[in-house]
Symmetry: C2
Subunit: 464 residues, 2 copies
């Protein structure tokens, strides 16, 4: 098929409702289906949306942020299955019944916006990103080409540019992805492509054993990425960390030499800024020195710690990050942009990202459009349909300003200091180590163990 | 760090507002920051959400579905940049200004819900999935463990089970992913893992050249997947298609023999049910025979065509799909569930998906929780944070019932018949071929060419 022919996909929206037969006198029948009647009861649908929005406002936006309410109405799986009416049937439910279902979904869901939700790396309600997210859902865009997503592509460009500025690069490239894990995969593949561009076409078979380095405290996505990309988890070299969970640069360099000696091909170091459990920051400057000496790509997984870049007081935690070749940074964590909002930022400005990822689909990325097709950034992605995740962060940034975002970070770290002080003061709690970020690791010591000496028996009992 | 110690990440939500100092008498100051004051102006935030919701209701839900409104207020990139105030500044904007910005974003965005939006594979507004999506955004869950996402994990299980039923499997496994492209990647990696489980640890280097087969009309994600997974695009063998864009089974088998002769290792056939441009359906039964003969994994990319399974009238297009080992199917297209809603379904029930993808992160997937941890399905995913995409489809299914979804599909295909008939009737239009699905490919012949014979000159001019 020539790319110049037209193709349309007919979908079952109301695209026939009013315009196909203007005077509405005769019904158009095909295969027994009246084509020029309405497909859905729009009035009923609109009413349902309005009522549901009231419910969401009351039960989620207002109640779920109220400290006097529960974080979660806990039920074990088998019991919850009985409480929820999960079965999908031949005929639909009434709007009234659907609203009851919505209420149940809310009732038994964990309120991640709740002041006392402390489970993983995010919490709290940001009203501004929430509005952006509602808009996204209502507009239902897909961010591949400018003609389909003009506003969202420009917003993504603006947000990436600003994040690049905070990393300390003069220019760069980037893309928003569905998760920090996926960003880390992108970076790993990009580093590999830079190392050997032939891999895109030829694959890895017959090549020397590629090897990458990361700290023993890195996120588990490194292993997932190595396995998914065909590198293999055994070719991820986990470098020893110090007592605070930071990669030891001397150990890294030793491992690189060792790998070379064994005939493997080192191509990448993944440093972590803000490890998942300890919140440790690898020493980026020393690691960058080693990467330069050995010609290795430096990727920084700052999915969690990247937010500290917004704070003049705390950005020193990431000292040296401007020397990275790529950075993963998730504004959906400490900056509260909503799941998911994850950027991969790349220092290269020569089009490496696009060269590495493009497949040049001619039905989508025509080169003779009536606008500058460099705005059709979809071909930089492994996705085809893609959500406008930059937009929710943009809205929050607009609402709070850089200073407001800085305050969020400063406040989180001040709260951490407060918690550490309280842990030290209170009986039955034992701090693991002084934190450098917002992760506080501690033991709760039950009364029965408080008088015991910290020998093997103590630890065995505590660990039960 | 033992997995039994506690760790909390302190985030800047209002997790201090009312409970830290109950009588609110004394301010808690750390690093110059008052910790027991509110972090954000909740009242102002709530008011903003309410006003924005009204705007979204009016400008998107109501107006953007009105055929008398524009699909798009088109502006080229440079001009749109001037019209939008994209810059993020040190201080935040007023709620009034933010609402103006929201209005601009809506004004210049493409209305994909509009009756005349015909760009790519989806359109129309489904009120029920929209409500589910608003709920998702408000609740802001992440679907990795049951303790954080009890409802959404059970919903995903129920939806996967039902989709598996429609494929015709007695049981199976699956996961929702951010896009059909990603689902195809999952399947490719899974097939490779099944072929040689060692790859997860050892990687591809030193292995024979793995090779996979798909049709020349397949989606471009096949190339992207092969490149990303380290297989290499040259190891994707594009099998010739017939005049309607369907893979020719005899050609497939020839190619498999040829690859074997060349010493390559065939492991996977990716058939397509509903190709992107022509809407062609590969003959699954014949392809399954070949896969069985050669011991190859059969993946069916039914991202677009899978919806036909909902229709008793049209499901014959996918005859033989129950013989596939895996299927990608996106309810966000013809079934209107909202971007993104994409399932990968796997016939294996022995835990292959989990074995292939798990990294067993001990901080998240503890094995000694107080509930059945088989509900912690996050370790089947390459993502860590993951959105509850099954939920929006569940809500629509609940609202319309299976019969309502069937009607959607029947209606879309009846509309396609109608369009084909109109194209045939009208001067200046030329149908490329009789469609078998909802993709209608046609030429518009400008008046100057209507009398010309269809020789090389005609085609050259038409293609200008």
């Amino acid at each position: 098929l020539s790319q110049k022919a037209h193709f349309v996909c007919v979908v079952p929206g109301d695209n026939d409702q009013q315009d196909m037969v203007p005077n509405k006198k005769s019904a158009v029948l095909v295969d027994g289906i009246v084509l020029n009647g309405p497909t859905t009861d729009a009035k009923a649908g609109e009413k349902f949306v309005e009522e549901a929005c009231r419910l969401i406002m009351e039960e989620v936006v207002l109640k779920a942020t109220d400290v006097n309410e529960k974080v979660c109405e806990w039920r074990p799986p088998e019991q919850l299955k009985e409480l929820l009416d999960l079965e999908m049937r031949d005929t639909g439910e009434s709007p009234h019944r659907l609203l009851e279902l919505c209420q149940d979904v809310i009732r038994y869901s964990v309120k991640t916006n709740h002041p006392r939700f402390f489970n993983q790396l995010y919490a709290g309600l940001d009203y501004y990103s929430l509005v952006a997210r509602f808009m996204t859902e209502a507009l239902n865009p897909s961010v591949y080409t400018y003609e389909v997503s003009p506003v969202f592509l420009l917003v993504e460009e603006a947000v990436l540019k600003k994040m690049i500025e905070f990393i300390g690069w003069k220019e760069g490239d980037g893309i928003f992805n569905p998760g920090g894990s996926v960003s880390n995969m992108y970076a790993m593949n990009l580093a590999r492509y830079k190392y050997c561009p032939d891999i895109k076409e030829k694959g890895l078979s017959g090549l020397p054993r590629l090897i990458l380095f990361t700290s023993a405290e890195c996120h588990y996505s490194m292993k997932k990425a190595a396995s998914f990309l065909g590198i293999g988890t055994e070719n991820v070299c986990f470098v020893e960390t110090d007592g605070r969970g930071k990669m030891i640069p001397e150990e890294l360099e030793k491992q690189v030499w060792q790998a070379r000696k064994e005939g493997a091909a080192p191509f990448l170091v993944c440093a972590t800024s803000g490890t998942t459990v300890l919140g440790a920051f690898d020493p980026l400057d020393e690691i960058a020195d080693i990467c330069e000496r050995h010609g290795l790509w430096l990727h920084v997984d700052a999915s969690w710690g990247g937010s500290a870049l917004m704070s003049r007081k705390h950005r020193k935690l990431l000292h040296g990050i401007h020397r990275a070749n790529s950075v993963a940074w998730n504004p959906h964590k400490m900056l509260m942009a909503g799941i998911q909002c994850c950027a991969l930022l790349v220092k290269d400005k020569s089009g490496l990202l696009k060269k590495c990822y493009s497949a040049k689909a001619s039905y989508l990325f025509q080169q003779d459009k009536f606008y500058d097709v460099s705005y059709d950034t979809g071909d930089k992605s492994i996705q085809c349909s893609r959500r406008p995740d930059a937009f929710k962060f943009w809205m929050t940034w607009k609402a709070l300003g850089t200073l407001g975002l800085e305050e969020r970070v400063n406040r989180a770290l001040a709260l951490s200091r407060y918690l550490v002080d309280e842990i030290k003061k209170r009986e039955g709690f034992k701090l693991l180590m002084e934190p450098e970020y917002a992760n506080i690791c501690f033991w709760y010591i039950p009364p029965s163990l408080r008088e015991m000496e910290e020998g093997p028996e103590f630890w065995a009992k505590l660990n039960l």
